[in-house]
Amino acid sequence: MSSALPPSELTGLTIAGALDGLAKREFSAVELAQAHLKAMEKHRDLNAYVVETPDKALAMAKASDERRAKGEALGALEGVPLAIKDLFCTDGVQTTAGSHILEGFKPPYESTVTANLWQAGAVMLGKVNMDEFAMGSSNLTSHFGGVTNPWRRKGDNKRLVPGGSSGGSASAVAARMALAATGTDTGGSIRQPAAFTGIVGIKPTYGRCSRWGIVAFASSLDQAGPMARSVKDCAIMLGAMAGHDPKDSTSVDLPVPDYTRALTGDVRGLRVGIPKEYRLDGMSAEIEKLWAQGAEWLKKAGAEIKEISLPHTKYALPTYYIIAPAEASSNLARYDGVRFGLRVPGESLDDMYEKTRAEGFGKEVRRRIMIGTYVLSAGYYDAYYLKAQKLRALIARDFETAFRDVDVILTPSTPSAAFAEGENTDDPVQMYLNDVFTVTVNLAGLPGISVPAGLNAEGLPLGLQLIGRAFDEETLFRVGGVLESSASFTAKPAGY
């Protein structure tokens, strides 16, 4: 079988387009994988992949072609090559969470989400870079170095960050080095990088995807989701990732709908909320304009636009920066140099722990572990941790109240477009503000999707976010599909 399409066209396909071409035998899964492996090699300067797994990719693609040739039952992602965020444990393939402390760690097991993807016929291209332990909004905290965003400002060659923490996933998908990628989102880690790179990313409802085998950051907030180049591709991939897993007691035993059927294009009569508290002081005119444009598109498609109030929005980030570090400080206690990863010898057991953790964790991770340790320590628990849990309840209640009047909420995904290394990165609190529009969704456990909606004056992509009711990803796909077709976002980073 020889391909009718040149490799650059194979890497430019959507998942839906690739499935179609494979079904029509226009090309094979092996050819599709080879085209991507070539693109990965060509764009290594972006530092998106931490580990490339070409042998595995070709073997999996070959097995997929054989299943197809024999007329066996095919999965929903049969032959589709994917990049996997390095937070997902992959059997026998190094999994580091972007950290020195896990360098060399080869899990003897596979995460449930990736196992589901392989079960659906997908092909693994490799593991992609990320902020260390998913703590960051720029990918600059990775032990393996930052990732470059394939987008550049008009007339400026400065390298921009892809956002984070799923920065490698975003860069790989935007630069056509994977048809799609897995991401995880604790405070915006799928949606912010998706917006920064002009792709679609959805954080499903907490409990939709199993967390088993995903390196834990903040267990009450973490959720896996797909990042791809169209709303439909995300719908296809989430259907394969999601589902109940007895190994994660917080994964919900609900049927997984066929999300692609939600893409009806019909939003007539749907009530769309515009939260007034998301209109920040000093918000860029471009973001404000895009947001209004998004509302206008939906109105034109027959939806009803309503202003709503989410009064505790401004407290979401400080609430998050108590809860997430508190959970992280407990989750990361396991990295002690005994069972896996790095060990720095010490004179005593405690000395070994302290030296191992000082050397193994990067600056941002150490900072968050210490914040978490402090807010959980004797005498401070009530003042900080309990207070944050109460604020979290109020933030969740804001959404519950709002969803009595509206079916979906429209907001910008991020307060700015992608920035360069060195801009915006010196003050940790400034960096935390990247997640101002996304973090509320994690605290309330709701689903949120970012859809590319336009370019700013510098030629960089901007995204709009939709927030839905718990377990109503279908409405997000339906409305996201309308945003996508209204925006007709076809811009691509130059040279990819």
Binding site: Y321, V338, K355
Partner: protein
């Protein structure tokens, strides 16, 4: 909230992260900045609000109490920085 070097040294000890004495003042300043920003939460009256630990409004399922996995110590120990005779090793803890 302003954290002093002594408090930060205590937190570092609790977190089992070695912080060189010389780095304590700078770290104290940085953590104080974050904690001060966090303290805007005190503006909100949360009297009578139930704290929320997670978003799932249901009881977690319980499974039958039986062994469902395991029996591959060798594979587990492959990732150990140091192992001997089928065990993880640590520096001597009993004199």
């Amino acid at each position: 909230m302003s954290l002093d070097s002594k408090t930060v040294a205590h937190i570092a000890m609790l977190a089992r992260i070695k912080v060189p004495e010389a780095e304590l003042p700078a770290l104290a300043k940085e953590l104080s900045g974050i904690m001060t920003w966090i303290e805007q939460l005190n503006e909100v009256d949360t009297t009578g609000v139930e704290p929320m630990a997670g978003v799932l409004h249901r009881n977690l399922p319980q499974r039958e109490d039986k062994v469902t996995d395991g029996g591959y110590a060798d594979r587990i120990l492959l990732n150990a920085p140091d192992a001997a005779h089928g065990f993880f090793t640590v520096p001597k803890v009993v004199e």
